[in-house]
Amino acid sequence: MTPFTVLSGSAVLLEQANIDTDQIIPARFLRRPRSDGYNNFLFHDLRGADADFPLSATGNTEILVAGENFGCGSSREGAVYALADAGVRCVIAPSFGDIFGSNASGNGLLTVVLAADAWSAVRDAVAGGAEITVDLRRQHVRAANTEYRFEIDPFRKQRLLRGVDDIALTLESADDIDNFEANIPSMRAWSIPG
């Protein structure tokens, strides 16, 4: 996973609320191996129906500014693969689907939640063609010479900054896991499948 620190550039706007993961990648493509390049399936049906769809499959932006509840619905991680394979590294929205947020951080994709006022200001800047900067370490988005702070789960931030694999990090707690596991038969024997 590539560590995430600071990202600057132009952004693409996708303002519609409740863009679900079925839109981001229709279910019929989820059977394909990752090696196919999931960017080819990114917003497949929406792009097909709209020649002016702002996000291309070939990676025309690293930053996406999206509407509220982005990535709601199905837990399919293919939605994150499609964005990541198209080169998107950060999505800024007023809110995200909970599972999408978890899936994103597991793939080095930063989800930035901005309060409504800040989000509107960033959207206006992007709509006006301005470049923006996302600084994860300092937790702000800079647009039109103004900095907008965002909150992020410290653990998620640390993992994104370091680009570390979760499993490797978890295995640092191997003794704790072993101890917990060893106590289950005495604590909750009924939880072991009969």
């Binding site: 229709p26 597991g106 009924w190």
Partner: protein
């Protein structure tokens, strides 16, 4: 005095292995369910050369890609056939129990888990599917995860999680005739919105919930994700214990009594804190259908398609107009009477025996005016329905009786709704293209889908069956 705890608090606390100062906890996972769509997670595990920690706590079932046509035929789509085969290969390689396409226990993962007694009160249960909240009906902490998290569970039997905020939805009173848990959850989602539960765990409570069957509670919890929340739960009670007793993998003999004793403490303490509470009146809930392309567009069947001109702001007006255009409707159009092309009864939301009985009660002695498919949620449900003669009610009405699986809910298995066609469905998502490119989905209960079959339109089941 000890601090009052919620149901979630109690299960959570019992599973914390490591508590970091920043509020992230490493949780032990008691059950991991995998399916034929879980190949990305195994791909990550194999890519990194890792082993599975607890294959004995992992259970596989083929559901997303299995066709609903006769099982004597091979799967037509080579990709789907490969994924179903792949699940069996992974089970063999790692040594976990798998319920493949021909297994008598096979079905949709969220029907099979409870049926086999794998889903129990007080356990943590995860699955690479957003409708995993279904299992919360038993008082389990159950939530959907992506492939990276699933790989993490395969390798470590743990997950890093932040404790969600907590919301309690209290539904008091009694649901009216032909009004079901599906109508209740559609009404809940319409009330709080598609993101209303985001960042929260939801506990469903109240007298209407207490009097629900386990099947109804599963329907209720199933669509929690459609309100933006990963996990929904109901405190276990005698209804729960009676349903689970004697299930194949449930605790046995003296272990059962110990388990029930432990489970009885799994309820929110009287003064436990919830970040939000919502009250609903069960008596006021009507048979509900969605009109748009988001599950929060449910309205009573007696209602009308909204008019963008009545919207409070421009963004809302645009959103309503776009949905009306996609769905091929008119503003202010009465919902009752909208012409429907086909129906689908099934899915992890409404593929259980109660659901099939409710649909059959409407269809018995009647003919369907439009084509449709009825798909049991599992092979045991299918067998039970056949013992009760429900399959003959459906086929006599002119509907197709399919083989268990996700079928038309996702359209991943050949059961697609053609472009522009309107489907009355008991599934959980009406998203643009969900049932196939250009498909138009109206979500509703099994009784209402049956009424749509008979009338060929969206129709108030209470006017058809008195």
């Amino acid at each position: 005095m000890a601090q009052p705890l919620t149901l979630l608090d109690k299960i959570w606390n019992a599973h914390v292995i490591v508590a970091r100062d920043d509020g992230t906890h490493l949780l032990w996972i008691d059950r991991h369910l995998v399916h034929d769509g879980s190949f990305h997670a195994f791909g990550i595990l194999h890519r990194d050369g890792r082993a599975m920690r607890r294959p004995d706590l992992t259970f596989g079932v083929a559901d997303h890609y299995v066709p609903s046509h006769a099982r004597t035929l091979p799967i037509e789509d080579p990709d789907a056939a490969r994924l179903v085969a792949h699940l069996g290969e992974n089970a063999q390689r790692h040594g976990f129990d798998v319920m493949g396409m021909h297994d008598p226990r096979q079905g949709i993962v969220h029907v099979v888990g409870p049926e086999q007694g794998l889903t129990l009160p007080g356990v943590t249960l995860v699955c690479g599917d957003s409708h995993t909240a279904t299992h919360g009906a038993f008082g389990a902490l159950a939530f959907g995860i992506g492939a990276t998290e699933a790989a993490h569970v395969l390798a470590t039997q743990t997950l890093w999680q932040r404790k969600p905020r907590q919301m309690r939805i209290i539904i008091d009173g009694r649901l009216g005739p032909h009004v079901s848990a599906k109508d209740a959850i559609l009404a809940v989602i319409a009330r709080i919105g598609a993101a209303g539960g985001a960042g929260h765990a939801i506990e469903y409570a109240g007298t209407a919930v207490q009097s629900m069957s386990m099947e109804a509670r599963m329907t209720l919890c199933n669509m929690t994700i459609e309100a933006g929340s990963r996990t929904g739960m109901v405190a276990p009670d005698d209804t729960t214990f009676a349903w689970l007793r004697g299930r194949p993998r449930a605790p046995r003999a003296t272990q059962w009594e110990t388990a029930v004793d432990a489970w009885r403490s799994l309820r929110s303490d009287p003064d436990a804190f919830f970040d939000q509470e919502v009250w609903m009146d069960a008596d006021a809930i009507a048979p509900t259908v969605t009109w748009g392309t988001s599950p929060d567009t449910g309205l009573p069947i007696t209602g009308h398609v909204p008019n963008p001109d009545d919207a409070p702001d421009r963004a809302t007006a645009d959103r309503i107009a776009a949905q009306i255009a996609y769905m091929g409707l008119e503003p202010n159009q009465a919902l009752d009477g909208i012409k429907v092309d086909r129906i689908f009864i099934g899915s992890c939301t409404n593929g259980r025996i109660d659901d099939l009985r409710a649909a059959a009660a409407v269809l018995r002695g009647r003919k369907a005016a439009i084509p449709g498919r009825v798909v049991a949620g599992s092979t045991p449900v299918k067998r039970q329905a056949e013992r009760e003669g429900l399959d003959r009610v459906f086929t006599a009405a002119g509907l197709v009786w399919g083989e268990p699986g996700c079928s038309s809910c996702t359209g991943m298995n050949g059961d697609v709704v053609p472009p522009g066609e309107r489907c009355a469905a008991t599934s959980n998502r009406n998203f643009v293209g969900r049932q196939g490119p250009g498909s138009r989905t109206h979500l509703m209960s099994p009784a209402m889908a049956a009424a749509a079959a008979v009338s060929g339109t969206l129709h108030d089941v209470r006017r058809l069956v008195t």
